[in-house]
Assembly symmetry: C2
Homo-oligomer: 215 residues x 2
DNA sequence: ACACTGTTGACAACGCTGTTGACAACGGAC
DNA sequence: GTCCGTTGTCAACAGCGTTGTCAACAGTGT
């Protein structure tokens, strides 16, 4: 309709993409919807990004950029690892496809380097040698990404819907035939109880216990 | 061309879908390719499955069904957990979207119940109470799914390509500016070294250490 | 032998997706 | 003023999942 007064920028496109992801989830984040959001033809974005994966990489980088800010250098190494992983988790939950997008592009983004650096630094501070620091890094990253992947779908629901889904799962496990599933019946009421963030924190603490114990 | 002698069955479609996933990865697993694989029009599958997610749920159930077979009841609880998780990981690697598909459908599949049951049983055997068994279960599942999610893309490559990608990552980390990324530089050569399955085993062992230590 | 019925596959079509190439308008450099 | 690189528009393509319609088939009751 009207001519655009200010030309499009990479940042503006990334902003719109994140806005789109926030309000309508991953399904609605299409190039055409993105163009509509920006008041621009969809294909205009291809002047700034080679293709959609390229765009998503930029989105991922943006979301990841805040993960390692606000770190307190004097904090315990475990506390620092915990915070970094929790913020990484939050970023991943915000954009479930991020984990996939990250792995798609071997030329990794700047935000990712910062995360790796801060985690490795903590493990070295904890006294691990290079090999064990690398192993600890892999473990922690895999747990964080995994937890986020699992929780991402549930996270799309509101609080009520989420509680209802968890209740449904518990109910399902609680009504399995007891002779075939005795352990499930015994534990059913404890499954998926409480906030998912808390369960992640517990898992991470357990993992850090194991890492601290024998590297 | 020729008239089909035997009619399509759900099992045959699931077979073909798995075959397609095995040989060409998730991208090529489309309804049209599936029809081509079966020598049948793509839309014929809609006579047997409501839609694609419905099909993928069946695929997931099939892949998960083998996870808890071949368990030795007399084995150590840790060894059993390790085996179950390793086989679950293998199933997830075969079909990366499986993790998401699993969570999408609250009426969970039979194979998933068996996995949960066997893991919970081991944690109860280890002496954990219901609450801590549930927490341990969540931790272990999240790590397993996470590891599989991360490794899934790399797994699609052949051995040479995979090694090259890992080498590339190491190279990237090894050439970061040393004043800004000292820890990354120090650890770079140890990152992503050796088979991914081994790294997963280490992570799981660490987690089980932490679980055994204080539940 | 016949018609009726439910099932299954083929085919065409719809709306959506990411992406490309040709074209036109713009802004800055000479 | 003229050139040229940049950027947005437009039409189009191939592919996707999905639906509705139609024909061929098996089984059943008469």
């Amino acid at each position: 309709m009207t001519t655009r007064r200010v030309p499009l920028t990479r940042d503006a496109i990334v902003d719109a993409a994140i806005h789109l992801l926030d309000q309508s989830g991953s399904d609605r984040m299409t190039m055409r919807n993105l163009g509509r959001e920006l008041g621009v033809d969809a294909t205009a974005c291809y002047r700034h990004f080679r293709d959609k994966p390229d765009l998503m990489r930029a989105v991922g980088d943006r979301l990841l950029s805040g993960v390692t800010s606000d770190l307190q250098p004097e904090a315990d190494w475990r506390a620092t690892v915990l915070i970094v992983c929790q913020q990484l988790r939050a970023a991943l939950l915000r954009q479930p496809r991020l984990a996939v997008a990250m792995r798609d592009a071997p030329p990794l983004a700047a935000g990712e380097f910062a995360i790796t650096e801060s985690l490795l630094a903590q493990f070295l501070r904890a006294g691990l040698d290079a090999r064990h620091a690398a192993l600890a890094y892999h473990s922690v990253i895999e747990l964080t990404v995994g937890s986020a992947t699992i929780d991402a779908s549930v996270d799309a629901l509101d609080d009520v819907g989420r509680q209802r889904m968890y209740d449904g799962w518990r109910q399902t496990y609680a009504t399995l035939p007891i002779d075939e599933f005795p352990a499930s019946r015994a534990v059913a009421l404890e499954l998926y109880r409480g906030p998912a963030d808390d369960r992640f924190a517990v898992a991470l603490e357990q993992l850090l216990d194991g890492i601290a114990a024998r590297g």
